[in-house]
C-alpha cells in the first residue's frame, strides 16, 4: 500500500457547464430568430428523418422563412454509426455550411456533435475522439439541438456516443466521447414536439432518464453539485413516466418528462455514469437495439449489483420514488427502491430480459435488418456464453465503467450481463 493509493480516487471533480436552453411549449418556433442571432447563414440540419411526423418539415420551413439556407441530412440511424457522421461532415464541407441544427433524439444530437468535432479538425475521422476531451480545437461550428424525445439529454450534455463499424467491421464498438467542445450552443426542449413520440419509445426513453439520474447519484465521481439534480429527476420520472406513456396526449406527463430528462442529463454531466450505460452500449454495439430499452433491462440488475456499496444512497432513491420509508432500515428502503423500479418497468410494458426482445417488440427494431453486414441475419439476441463473454469484455473497456461504485472485473460483471440476457427479474425481489 503506497501513500498515493490512500488518496481519494477522484480527488478533483469537474463541473461541466451547460448550454443555454429554451424550454416550454412553443420554444421550437424560436429557432429561426435564435439561429440568426447566433449568426447562422447556411445550416446543415441533421436528423433521423422522424418520418411520419411533420416536425422536420415544419422546422426547416420556419428556418427558411427567416432567411436561412438549409441543407438536410436525414439519414442518421438509431445508434448513430461513424459513417453517418462522416457522410454528414462531407455534406457540410461540400455545401460550405457554417452551422448545425439537430432535430430528434439522442441519435441525431450525438451524430451532430461528432460531426461538429470532426469538422473542427478538418474532417478527421470521428472515431479518433473517443475518450475524454480528445479534441484539440475548442472552436467548432455553432449547434442548436431540438429534442423530440424525452430521454437523451444529449442536447445539454458533454457526451456523445457513436458506433464504430469501420475499424473492425466484424466486431463493432460503441464508444462514448466526453468532450467539452461538443456541448451544443443552444438546447431547445419543447413538449409540443414530444406528442408524436411512439408509446414504446416514450417508455424506453423514460428509463434512459432513470438511468441518467440514478447512476450519478451513486457513482464514484458524484459530488454534491449533481446530487440534487439526480434525485429530482428520479422523482419527476417516477411521477410522470406512466402518464406520458399511457396518456401520450396529456400535457402533464409530457412536460414532466421533458424536465426530468433535462435535469437528469445535468446530473450525469458532472456526476458520471456507471455500468448500466456500459452494458447498454455493448448490447447496442452488437445488436443495434434502442439505448433506452437496454438501459431499462440493465437497470434493475445493476442496481442490485451496486446496492451493497451504497444502501443509504439507494434509500434516498426510494424516497425520491415516493416510497414511505418510515421505520425502514436503509437496506429495506433500498430493496423497496429496486422493487419500485421493476414495477415501473412492468407498468410501462418493457421486455424484462434481452432474449425476450423480438423484432416486433418495438417500432423500429433493427434486429436482423441492420445497416451493415454485421447486423444482417442476426434476428434474435443469442444470449449464449460466448455472447455474454464478448459483451462483458466490451463493458470492461467502456468509458462509463470507471465511474461505477462497485469494482468491475470480468468475474464480477459477467453474472450481471448473463442475468440481463437470461435471468428473471423476480430473482431480484425478496
Amino acid at each position: 500500500m503506497q501513500v498515493e493509493e490512500m488518496l481519494p480516487q477522484f480527488p478533483i471533480k469537474e463541473f461541466h457547464p451547460f448550454p443555454r436552453a429554451l424550454m416550454g411549449p412553443g420554444a421550437h418556433e424560436l429557432i429561426g430568430p435564435e439561429a440568426l442571432k447566433l449568426g447562422f447563414k447556411k445550416t446543415l440540419v441533421m436528423t433521423s428523418g422522424l418520418r411520419g411526423s411533420d416536425i422536420v418539415h415544419k422546422i426547416v420551413e420556419s428556418m427558411k422563412y427567416h432567411g436561412l439556407e438549409v441543407v438536410v441530412y436525414d439519414k442518421v440511424e438509431s445508434n448513430p454509426k461513424d459513417y453517418n457522421v462522416m457522410d454528414a461532415v462531407g455534406m457540410y464541407q461540400q455545401n460550405n455550411c457554417d452551422s448545425f441544427v439537430s432535430i430528434g433524439g439522442g441519435s441525431s444530437h450525438d451524430a451532430c456533435k461528432g460531426a461538429r468535432v470532426s469538422v473542427a479538425h478538418d474532417g478527421r475521422n470521428v472515431n479518433e475522439f473517443e475518450g475524454f476531451n480528445k479534441s484539440e480545437n475548442p472552436k467548432n461550428p455553432p449547434h442548436i439541438a431540438v429534442s423530440t424525445t424525452a430521454g437523451t439529454g444529449s442536447e445539454t450534455s458533454w457526451a456523445y456516443v457513436i458506433t464504430d463499424t469501420t475499424t473492425d467491421p466484424k466486431n463493432p464498438h460503441k464508444y462514448v466521447a466526453f468532450d467539452d467542445a461538443s456541448v451544443t450552443t443552444l438546447a431547445i426542449d419543447d413538449p409540443v414536439l414530444y406528442y408524436s413520440c411512439p408509446v414504446d419509445y416514450t417508455a424506453q426513453c423514460g428509463f434512459d432518464v432513470l438511468a441518467h439520474a440514478s447512476e450519478p447519484y451513486v457513482s464514484r465521481i458524484n459530488f454534491d453539485p449533481s446530487l440534487g439534480n439526480a434525485l429530482h429527476a428520479i422523482k419527476l420520472t417516477n411521477r410522470n413516466l406512466r402518464e406520458a406513456v399511457w396518456n401520450p396526449q396529456g400535457y402533464e406527463g409530457r412536460f414532466g418528462m421533458m424536465n426530468a430528462q433535462y435535469i437528469a442529463a445535468q446530473a450525469f454531466n458532472s456526476g458520471g455514469l456507471g455500468i448500466i450505460h456500459s452494458i447498454s452500449h455493448a448490447i447496442s454495439a452488437f445488436y443495434d437495439t434502442h439505448h433506452g430499452l437496454n438501459n431499462a433491462i440493465a437497470l434493475p440488475r445493476v442496481w442490485a449489483f451496486n446496492m451493497p456499496t451504497h444502501y443509504k444512497r439507494f434509500a434516498d432513491i426510494a424516497e425520491a420514488m415516493d416510497i414511505d420509508t418510515h421505520g425502514m432500515t436503509n437496506v429495506q428502503a433500498a430493496e423497496a427502491a429496486l422493487a419500485a423500479s421493476i414495477r415501473l418497468l412492468r407498468d410501462v410494458g418493457i421486455p424484462e430480459r434481452f432474449v425476450d426482445v423480438k423484432q416486433d417488440s418495438y417500432s423500429k427494431n433493427r434486429l436482423g435488418q441492420g445497416p451493415t453486414e454485421f447486423y444482417k441475419g442476426e434476428g434474435i439476441i443469442k444470449g449464449d456464453a460466448a455472447d455474454v463473454d464478448r459483451i462483458t469484455n466490451h463493458v470492461l473497456g467502456d468509458a462509463c465503467t470507471p465511474g461505477n461504485p462497485k469494482e468491475c472485473t470480468f468475474e464480477t460483471v459477467r453474472p450481471v450481463v448473463d442475468h440481463c440476457m437470461n435471468g428473471d427479474l423476480d430473482d431480484l425481489l425478496t
Binding site: Q9, R124, G131, D168, H419
Partner: protein, 405 residues
C-alpha cells in the same frame, strides 16, 4: 552614409530613406519610407502591425544598419515582468562584494557599543551597494543609458501583459527611467524605438496614441518580386515572377496561415536548390509545404495550384484513399468522405485496434478532467483479482436469497 557614422544624423528626404534602406537589402515603398523619415525627424516611437513574416523586425534591423546605430532588442512574451525589461539589482554581485569586504565591514562596526549603533553605521553605507555598479541594465534602461545612439526594437509587444505595456508607456513618454536608489536616468540622444505587433490582442489606446502607426501588409507584386531579387535566391527572374504570382494566388485562398514574404523567399531558394527550370503544378505541389504549414491548407493549396500555374489547366481527378467501404451499398453515389490520409484498408490493423478497446481500466483514474486533451494522465488502476466463485456471489447478494435486514 558618412553623416550617420555617429548615428545621430538626419535623413534629408524620403528618397534618401529608400536608398539607405535599399543598401541594407530592405526594399521600402513610399508609405513605409515616409513613416521612417518621420520617425527620424520627430523622435516618436514607431508601432508596426501586420501579419507574420512581412518584414516588421527586418525593418528595425535595416534601420539600425542604415543609421549606424546599435540595435537593442527586447523580445516580449507572456508573463514578462518589468525586471526583465527595465533593470535588476545584480544580487549575486552584491553578495560577492559583501563576502570579499567582510573584514572591512567588520572594521566599520568594530567599535560600535550597541547593536543599534552598528546597524546605523551600516545603514549609512548602504548606498554603496545600490549604485550603478550593481545595476544590471535590461534593454529599456540600456537604451536610455547608452552613450551611443541606439535603435530599440520591442518585438511582438502584443504578447506582453498590460502591466509591461504601462512600463513601456512611461519610458517612451519621457525617455527616462527612475531607479529609486540611484536617481533618474535621462537619455542624451533619444533612441529610435520600433514596436512590432502581430495583433494577437488589441494594444491600449494610450500606447497607440504615443506612436507613429504603420500597418505593414503583404507587398505589391512588383515590390515582392524586387525583394525576392534582392535576396539573391538564385532563381531565374522569369520563374521568380511566376512564383510571386502563385504565392499571391495562395494568399487569396483564405488559408489558416497565409504565406508571407519570408516564405516566398524560402520557396524561391528551395526551387533554386532543386534546379527547377520551369514551374509546373507537380514541382510546386512537391515543395508546397515550404510555404503552407497546416494539413488542411496544404490540401487546399494542392487543389488550387494547377489553376494558379496555368489558368487553362484541367485538373486530373486524384483518387486519394478514403475510409472503409461500409458494405451498405451507397458508396457509388456518395461523395468521397473526408478521412485521414493515413487511413488504410488494413483489416488486421483494425482488428488489433478494436481488440485493444476491450481492455479494462484503459481510461485510467482520471475520469474526465484532462485539460490538455492528451492521454488520460494517470496510469490505469489495477482492478483487484476476483475468483470466479466470488464473482458469482457479488451480484445482488446472491440473487434473491432471503437476507436478514
Amino acid at each position: 552614409m558618412s553623416q550617420f557614422e555617429s548615428g545621430s544624423g538626419q535623413f534629408d528626404s524620403v528618397d534618401e530613406v529608400v536608398d539607405a534602406l535599399g543598401e541594407q537589402g530592405y526594399i521600402a515603398d513610399a508609405r513605409l519610407a515616409t513613416t521612417v523619415f518621420l520617425v527620424n525627424r520627430l523622435d516618436k516611437p514607431l508601432l508596426i502591425e501586420g501579419p507574420a513574416g512581412v518584414g516588421k523586425t527586418e525593418l528595425a534591423k535595416a534601420l539600425a544598419k542604415a543609421t549606424g546605430r546599435r540595435l537593442l532588442r527586447l523580445q516580449c512574451y507572456e508573463g514578462q515582468d518589468e525586471t526583465k525589461a527595465l533593470y535588476e539589482w545584480d544580487y549575486g554581485k552584491q553578495l560577492l562584494y559583501t563576502q570579499i569586504l567582510r573584514e572591512k565591514i567588520g572594521q566599520v562596526v568594530a567599535d560600535s557599543p550597541t547593536l543599534e549603533d552598528a546597524v546605523d553605521r551600516i545603514g549609512a553605507q548602504e548606498s554603496v551597494f545600490f549604485s550603478e555598479r550593481f545595476l544590471a541594465s535590461r534593454p529599456l534602461l540600456e537604451a536610455i543609458r547608452s552613450d551611443e545612439p541606439v535603435v530599440l526594437l520591442i518585438d511582438e509587444v502584443d504578447r506582453a501583459d498590460e502591466a509591461l505595456e504601462a512600463v513601456l508607456l512611461e519610458t517612451l513618454a519621457e525617455y527616462q527611467v527612475s531607479v529609486p536608489e540611484v536617481g533618474t536616468f535621462t537619455t542624451t540622444t533619444p533612441p529610435y524605438v520600433v514596436l512590432t505587433s502581430n495583433n494577437t490582442r488589441d494594444l491600449s489606446a494610450a500606447l497607440k496614441r504615443r506612436c507613429l502607426h504603420l500597418f505593414l501588409d503583404y507587398p505589391t507584386a512588383e515590390r515582392e518580386l524586387e525583394i525576392v531579387r534582392s535576396k539573391k535566391t538564385g532563381l531565374p527572374d522569369a520563374l521568380a515572377e511566376q512564383l510571386v504570382g502563385v504565392v499571391r494566388g495562395l494568399r487569396e485562398l483564405e488559408l489558416r496561415k497565409s504565406p508571407s514574404i519570408s516564405e516566398t523567399i524560402d520557396w524561391a531558394r528551395t526551387l533554386a536548390v532543386l534546379g527547377v527550370e520551369e514551374l509546373n503544378a507537380t514541382v510546386l505541389s512537391d515543395t508546397v509545404s515550404v510555404v503552407v504549414k497546416y494539413d488542411k491548407d496544404v490540401r487546399k493549396a494542392i487543389g488550387a495550384l494547377p489553376k494558379l500555374v496555368d489558368p487553362n489547366a484541367t485538373v486530373p481527378e486524384k483518387d486519394h484513399g478514403h475510409g472503409h467501404g461500409h458494405g451498405h451499398g451507397h458508396d457509388e453515389e456518395q461523395p468521397k468522405k473526408p478521412a485521414r490520409a493515413d487511413e488504410t484498408e488494413d483489416e488486421v490493423d483494425g482488428r488489433a485496434i478494436r481488440a485493444a478497446k476491450d481492455t479494462p481500466g484503459r481510461f485510467g483514474n482520471t475520469y474526465g478532467s484532462n485539460p490538455l486533451g492528451g492521454d488520460t494522465g494517470a496510469s490505469p488502476s489495477k482492478p483487484p483479482k476476483v475468483p470466479a466463485d466470488r464473482g458469482k456471489s457479488s451480484f445482488g447478494a446472491g440473487l434473491g436469497r432471503k437476507r436478514a435486514l
